[in-house]
Symmetry: C2
Subunit: 139 residues, 2 copies
Amino acid sequence: MDTGKYTGILRENGIKVTPQRLEVLRFLDENRVHPTADDIYRTLKKDNPSLSKTTVYNVLDILSKYGLVEVLTISGTESRYDYGSTRHQHFLCTSCGRIVDIHIKGLCMDCMPEKGHKVEEVHGYFKGTCRDCLKGIGA
Amino acid sequence: MDTGKYTGILRENGIKVTPQRLEVLRFLDENRVHPTADDIYRTLKKDNPSLSKTTVYNVLDILSKYGLVEVLTISGTESRYDYGSTRHQHFLCTSCGRIVDIHIKGLCMDCMPEKGHKVEEVHGYFKGTCRDCLKGIGA
DNA sequence: GTATTACGTTGTAATCATTACAGATTAGGT
DNA sequence: ACCTAATCTGTAATGATTACAACGTAATAC
């Protein structure tokens, strides 16, 4: 497994490198399904039984502070985490619960008409029923 | 106090009229500050000490199901409620916690490029530091 | 090379918003 | 003025997240 990639990312941001941080970062990079903190915890705990959920929250917290992961609040009941911060939006299917990436133009840091506010994050959240659920394929 | 307005709104939507529903609806109409359920509860309890927080949640739930109020999940820690569903977006100041209305064009039900999904809600959430906090006026 | 110090991790115990539930009450039609 | 289903209330549970204190680790100073 190539942990070098993630070691470099952490170092470049001046974040101390630890196995837990590497694992969370790798997991998010390799599982682009907007997992919850608990999803991450349960999966990583398999290979590292001593992992604490508090650590997962701590790691997610620092990674998001440095912009390495994006926190999604689309579901309203729990936070979801997205690797990186490539500019894209999200669609939540209220039937199956999946979150789909949406690529929409015209929603950016500079598109806010009200002047004087300093914009640091932009989130476009769409909700409805996804293609698969409409066809009866989804959950 | 003109409860007639809100009675009409509820009746038009086939929602049974109760004092609690009228009060919540009126409060949201008259206080466009995106309050939390607890804000609503604490304020309305002053004039109606027997009000239950569960009722506030129930009322907000039915009002949002009928599109009479919009649920905002911008803060990530608690839901906030907005009267009506006039098409506008929201800016959360991470310094003072206020949510400011934003009027941006080009973010609508029909602007989603991915085809086949049925879009029922669109939320544009911006985060950063508001004008007042930048000037040192805010909290 | 060891002591010191700062930072990370862990596990448990709180917190806080929200939901579940059961019993009392009420709205709206008859 | 009933009757019945829907609503309201209060308390107890849930579930995500945070607080905190003890322990581990790694770098630095002596």
